[in-house]
Symmetry: C2
Amino acid sequence: MTDAPDRAGNLYLVPNTLDFGVPVAPGTLPDLRETLPDGVIRIAARLTHWVAENAKTTRAFLKRVDTVVPLAQPLQTLSIVELPRPAKGSAVAAAPDLRALLAPLFKGHDLGLISEAGLPAVADPGAVLVQAAHAQHLRVIALSGPSSLMLALAASGLNGQSFAFVGYLPVAPAQRAVRIRELEGVSRRAMQTQLMIETPYRNEALLEALLGTLQATTTLSVSCGLTLAHGFTRSDTVQEWRRQPSALPADVPAVFALLAR
Amino acid sequence: MTDAPDRAGNLYLVPNTLDFGVPVAPGTLPDLRETLPDGVIRIAARLTHWVAENAKTTRAFLKRVDTVVPLAQPLQTLSIVELPRPAKGSAVAAAPDLRALLAPLFKGHDLGLISEAGLPAVADPGAVLVQAAHAQHLRVIALSGPSSLMLALAASGLNGQSFAFVGYLPVAPAQRAVRIRELEGVSRRAMQTQLMIETPYRNEALLEALLGTLQATTTLSVSCGLTLAHGFTRSDTVQEWRRQPSALPADVPAVFALLAR
């Protein structure tokens, strides 16, 4: 194992806003200061080396940073390297060798890791880079920012003292129903809130599957467009949802949470 | 069920900093803008009605807010009501009637819910008030802020695509060892990161229990003092932790995360 030299840079985990992919009129994206701390925006403005889930959305983020705190260097001169995309369904253990991406740290530069939305390395493939940094004994610093999962959990009113995030559910209806019943069983036995996400255009299909499969007494919470002006959270029993359905937008990310009694 | 009138206020879930209880020299607490968005500080400054985990720490928070954005009303004139403490071990289902605490909302006032640290209703008893608000069809808005659990998860490099927070472990050594083995089993079967917390003076005891009980190949991550200048995250196999132990501070909150292979 190579140990980091004393003057190695820090790997900063830089949060992004939660408005990724949300359709808005040009130039009407909210000010970063609505959802990100000044201290974090200042750090982002001075970083010259980045590893990103997506380089294009990172440049869009840095343009927004620049309107609040001028970037230390012109955007075109920044190093932005994309994280290799993991093969679908591959395990974290099968991570590629990412030491090359960490090279700037060994030269004394700080390095930012950024995702398309929210905290990097949570519900996205960034954890492999953080793992590689720890293997080299580099310093990792996670910066404060919005987590759609935690905002949805808080807004749900469901158990926040025991909860699990399980990612995406299977798309095939039969397997999805099996998985929903399994999660409901875990939730009931452990009194544990189960959180899941879906790609926005499938929000409505997931809601239907949940309402068609869960017990009437289970509570289901759906948070759409968290941190956005038109965002909302509805938290109700499955019985109430069935009695009074809500339509979900197909172009805004949603987080689903359930708790069985 | 009473439905909220059209002009009811919003229930804002207001994040707090993560430096609760951390010993610092007077007047040296970091500026709120290091960890909280300006937009959130502005909302906190204009709220005149609060429900708090602890009124004293809420007043301390509002004094810090006032140094950034002047409070809309003098601190002494704000309504700060403490959330009733749940009986030890009581279930969420046994929540007391909290409708009285929501009364300001029906009078058209916005209401803030705040915890001693981090996001309210996550890893604290605040969820019961959020539940009561949903039962009255009131609007709940969770504001962006630091979540020690998500910062620790991101900084761990462990699986961020499937994880669970399980709260506190039993204090009695035999029960604690049983619970640790159970969590390691769940983690291995579901490839699910398991997150837990402990009161700071027991940090060292929990670390010893984890290192004495977990398999050598399990990865253990400990994040201490997240968002603080002297904060750190160590993420290593149990084997490495045993070979090269780290002492943990007894006066700084820590989050523990494990992933079994």
